[in-house]
C-alpha cells in the first residue's frame, strides 16, 4: 500500500524466487562496492602457504572470522582506503649477489593512487656460521626496466638485520612505490642483497619455499579532485 517504496510494496514471492533474487542483488552490490564490472577470473593463484603467511602477518587480530572489523588501527571508512598485497616474481640476477623481485601493479586509466604506507617483507635465513657476527647489512635497490642488473640500479635503502635466527624483516618503501605509480609504470623491479661471503641470505628458491615468498604491502587510497584541492589549500 505504499507506492514508490520497494521494500513495502513488493508482492509476496515464492521463497526460492526471493532467495535467488536476493543472491543476485547481493552479488551486484558486492561488485559495485568493489568497483568491479564482473567477478575477477582467477586462473593462477598465489600458493596458499604464501598467502596464509602474509595474511597472518598483516591482519592478526584485526579482522574477525565473519569479516567484521576490529576498528583499532584501521583506516576510517570514510577515507575509502584499502591495502594491496602483492607477491614477488623471483628472478635470477646476472651477478647472482642479489635476489631480483618483480611486482606487478596495473592501474585503471585515469586513476591516481596515493600511497599512505608501504613495506617490503623479506625472509632472511640465519647465518650458517655460528661464529659470525649476527648482524648483517641488507640493501634494497630499485632497478630500471630493461637495464642490465648491477649497472642500472639505485640504492633505495640500507638496513642492519639481526640474522641469528631466520625471520621476516620489513623495508619501508613508501616513497619509492609512490614515485613508481606516479610514473605510470607497470612492473616494479627491486633487488635485495644480504650478502655473507658471497651468499645472499635474503634470496630464496621460489619453488621450494613458498611460505616465505617475499611480498609487498601498500596501504593506499584513490586520489580525487577534492583531496587534491585540500592539499593545495594546506
Amino acid at each position: 500500500g505504499s507506492p514508490g517504496c520497494p521494500s513495502c510494496g513488493l508482492p509476496a514471492m515464492e521463497k526460492d524466487a526471493e532467495k535467488r533474487m536476493m543472491i543476485e542483488i547481493a552479488k551486484q552490490q558486492l561488485l559495485d562496492k568493489l568497483h568491479l564490472k564482473e567477478r575477477p577470473n582467477i586462473t593462477q593463484t598465489v600458493p596458499r602457504a604464501a598467502l596464509l603467511t602474509a595474511l597472518r602477518k598483516l591482519h592478526s587480530g584485526r579482522v574477525r572470522q565473519d569479516g567484521s572489523l576490529e576498528l583499532e588501527n584501521t583506516l576510517p571508512t570514510k577515507d575509502q582506503g584499502y591495502e594491496i598485497v602483492s607477491f614477488a616474481d623471483i628472478n635470477e640476477t646476472d651477478s647472482g649477489d642479489a635476489a631480483s623481485l618483480t611486482f606487478q601493479f596495473l592501474q585503471e586509466r585515469g586513476q591516481s593512487i596515493q600511497v599512505l604506507q608501504s613495506s617490503l617483507w623479506i625472509y632472511a635465513r640465519s647465518s650458517e656460521d655460528p661464529n659470525r657476527d649476527s648482524r648483517l647489512s641488507a640493501r634494497v635497490f630499485l632497478s630500471v626496466e630493461g637495464g642490465v642488473s648491477g649497472s642500472n640500479r639505485t640504492l633505495v635503502m640500507e638496513k642492519m638485520l639481526e640474522v641469528q635466527q631466520s625471520n621476516w624483516h620489513t623495508f619501508p618503501i613508501t616513497r619509492t612505490l609512490q614515485a613508481f605509480l606516479d610514473g605510470g609504470q607497470r612492473r616494479l623491479h627491486l633487488e635485495v642483497s644480504c650478502d655473507e661471503d658471497g651468499k645472499n641470505l635474503c634470496s630464496m628458491d621460489a619453488s621450494s619455499d613458498t611460505a616465505n615468498q617475499p611480498f609487498l604491502v601498500a596501504q593506499v587510497r584513490l586520489r580525487d579532485d577534492h583531496s587534491k584541492h585540500s592539499l593545495r589549500k594546506r
Binding site: I42, T45, V46, D66, L75, S86
Partner: protein
C-alpha cells in the same frame, strides 16, 4: 528494530547470509567466508512513520502534528535500513593483486520506517 519472523508483517530486519562457496565466488574472495547482507521488509503503517529514524527532528514533529490532526499528507513511509556496518574483505582483483578493503554500509543492522 524488529527481526522478521513468520508472524511479523510490519517493517523488520530479515537475516540473509550468503556463503561464497555456495555461489562459486570463494576462488576470488579470500575472506570472509560469506556475507551477512540482511535486508528490510514489511509494512510501514502511518503510526510507525518516522520511527526511529527521524524522531527527534523538526520535520518529524511537524509530520506527527499532521498525523494527529488526521491530515492526509499523501506521503508514503518506507521500510529502510537505519543502521549499517562495514564489511572487511580480502580478495583478488582483476589484476590478480590481493586487495584488502573495508567497505562501508554493507551489513544491515536494523530497520525502521522513514
Amino acid at each position: 528494530s524488529l527481526r522478521c519472523g513468520d508472524d511479523v508483517s510490519v517493517c523488520c530486519k530479515r537475516d540473509f547470509y550468503i556463503k561464497f562457496k555456495d555461489i562459486q565466488w570463494h576462488d576470488w574472495i579470500i575472506a570472509p567466508e560469506g556475507y551477512h547482507m540482511n535486508y528490510c521488509m514489511g509494512q510501514c503503517p502511518q503510526h510507525l512513520s518516522g520511527s526511529p529514524g527521524i524522531a527527534s527532528s523538526f520535520h518529524a514533529t511537524v509530520f506527527s502534528q499532521l498525523k494527529v490532526n488526521g491530515i492526509n499528507t499523501a506521503a508514503s513511509s518506507c521500510c529502510v535500513p537505519t543502521e549499517r556496518q562495514p564489511l572487511s574483505m580480502v580478495y583478488f582483483n582483476s589484476q590478480h593483486s590481493i586487495v584488502k578493503t573495508d567497505v562501508p554500509d554493507m551489513i544491515v543492522e536494523s530497520c525502521g520506517c522513514t
